[in-house]
Amino acid sequence: MSENVLTLENLTKHFDTTTGGVFNKVKGVVKAVDGVTLDVARGETVGLVGESGCGKTTVGRTVLKLYEPTSGKIIFDGQDITKLSRREMKPLRSQMQMIFQDPFASLNPRHTVGTIVSASYDIHGIKPEGGTKKAVQELLERVGLNPEHINRFPHEFSGGQRQRIGIARALALKPKLIVADEPVSALDVSIQAQVVNLLDDLQQELGLAYLFVAHDLSVVQHISDRVVVMYLGKVMEMADTAELFFKPRHPYTKALLSAVPIPDPEIERKRERIILRGDLPSPVNPPAGCVFNTRCWKAQDICRTSVPALVEISPKHTLACHFPEPA
């Protein structure tokens, strides 16, 4: 048994953008994910952060083979699943699950909570011990919902409770890996804390591994063991949480962190900010060289021509930059 539950090697996912209409022609390619290498150990949480459109969701969905990878390798639990067909994937599906951002849209409004949570059993033809109903009620209790509410519909629950239903559904088949795509972004702060704690507890008890996708760096810092920073489909920096947040080496990581407001007025008043110029470039036509060079304050000529390689600069700390910040 390998020590990593998930390994991505140079994972790439490109989408064709088309002109639309009858003569649907390919106009360009969005390099949504462009050579991502990372791994997730058993029971570990890896955070995936970056600005909107940098490819976080695409990584998550490709890992679960909801998208076919364009190239690269996905190794799940020691098994190369890159080329597996839908049918070959089926037995593995139960071991990797996804939680979505929108607790409103991801639950079928016409199904009861019981139906939603037990759907995974039916799909995989599993008869849980003691019957489906009992299993579902245990799950609901596990995620902090009233097990008596098994016959209620999603609209009868609040946002935070709906997210709990989503989590219960993901847990039904005792997965090894959960890809959580912005699981708390749509929730209010006080509810957000409840869900984050729930995810924490479940990990402790069940030994789950999370690939935790989010754009809120404070939450990612809190929940993750290691963090991957992405920009325009590429990994910029990857390190242990403490190292990444307190000794960031990549200019982008540094800028990103300095943009996060801190709920402490005195610190805010003293704080020096790195304000990035301009907007994210289009992923259809990313800049040559280092993709970050158009907004980077350290960029030199070489950044505009040569792509910095992703190298391990110290144990478990990888980085793609020609001019990293001093350690």
Partner: protein
């Protein structure tokens, strides 16, 4: 923009060619033999074959198709020698049943249908949009309730009933049109009053049904647009509600209506069969229904079918181009 228009033009042309081919194939494989229908009881094989040749049906469909297309641009002649019949370009063929070039049949029928279409179009757009806007503006109040009743009646009453009602209880009852004159083409130039009298009631009949749909559509579009964020922005700017409605709400709410309006209008240009029938108007609708039901007059059927399709395809083009002027998001695409 030029690129956009030329691309759409090429596309429209391709669709027209495709449609014409499909129409020829369909009629070729229908289990009805037009040549057999030409002679009724007195048929014998040689006569059928001769007539088939006369009709130009003795060649494969692609050849028939090509002759048709060629005729459109170069004119076409039938039979030889002294009996030769020549239909000049643009020729839609010759109707042996009516002893006339199809082009001239269409030429007579089209002004009638066009008058009907344009008249009802103007009426229903004015009625539908103004009633829809009023209903949206006074949502839940009197104008809205009146509009709701109107929509209910208009959509549930089929044209053949509303048309008959208008004919019987308005036109004939009050002697508004001399029944003998009914169904004769009146030129709007030489006899404007007669023209008006002839068309106003069929136009109203047709417009009623459409106006109801457009009222409903306008109402829901205006209501929906009114809750858009950009309308709130317009209010926050301090614009008056009149300006907001005219400049901001209607522009966004009516553009989708333009699309269906164009297509509905084009659909009518192909002939409003029921209304023409009720008011005895010699338009394209009656021309085709007669060709189908009584004579199986293939050249006429083919031509009216193609024409109707062409109107829709061209309307599509016009609407798309108009849309690009209205909506900048389409323009750059």
């Amino acid at each position: 923009m030029l690129k956009f228009v030329s691309r759409r033009l090429a596309y429209t042309f391709a669709v027209l060619v495709l449609v014409s081919i499909v129409v020829f194939i369909i009629f070729n494989y229908l289990p009805i033999d037009p040549a057999r229908l030409t002679c009724g009881k007195s048929c014998f094989p040689a006569l059928i074959e001769a007539n088939r040749h006369r009709l130009g049906l003795d060649v494969p469909w692609w050849e028939q198709w090509w002759r048709f297309i060629h005729g459109l641009f170069a004119g076409r002649s039938y039979a030889e020698g002294s009996a030769a019949i020549v239909c000049g370009a643009p020729s839609f063929g010759y109707s042996f049943n009516q002893h006339s070039c199809v082009t001239s049949l269409i030429g007579q029928a089209f002004p009638v249908t066009f008058s009907l279409a344009i008249g009802s179009f103007i009426l229903w757009m004015i009625m539908g949009i103004s009633l829809g806007v009023l209903a949206a503006r006074f949502k839940g109040r009197m104008p809205d309730r009146i509009a709701t009743v109107f929509v209910l009646v208009g959509t549930s009453l089929p044209t053949f009933i509303s048309g008959l009602l208008i004919l019987l209880f308005v036109v004939l009852k009050f002697n508004l049109i001399n029944p003998i004159e009914m169904g004769q083409w009146m030129s709007p130039f030489s006899n404007p009053w007669g023209y008006f009298k002839e068309f106003i009631f069929p136009c109203i009949t047709l417009a009623l049904a459409y106006a109801a749909t457009y009222t409903r559509f306008t109402r829901s579009n205006v209501i929906e647009t009114s809750s858009e964020d950009f309308i709130r922005t317009a209010k926050a700017k301090g614009l008056s509600s009149g300006v907001i409605l005219r400049k901001h709400t209607l522009r966004a709410a009516l553009s989708p209506i333009l699309t269906i309006a164009g297509l509905d209008f084009a659909g009518l240009l192909g002939g409003a069969i029921i209304t023409e029938q009720i008011f005895n108007l010699p338009g394209l609708g009656r021309l085709s229904i007669k060709a189908v039901l009584t004579d199986y007059d293939l050249p006429v059927i083919l031509s009216t079918t193609l024409l109707a399709a062409a109107f829709v395809v061209i309307a599509n083009l016009v609407v798309d181009i108009a849309y690009a002027f209205i909506d900048p998001r389409v323009r750059v695409a």
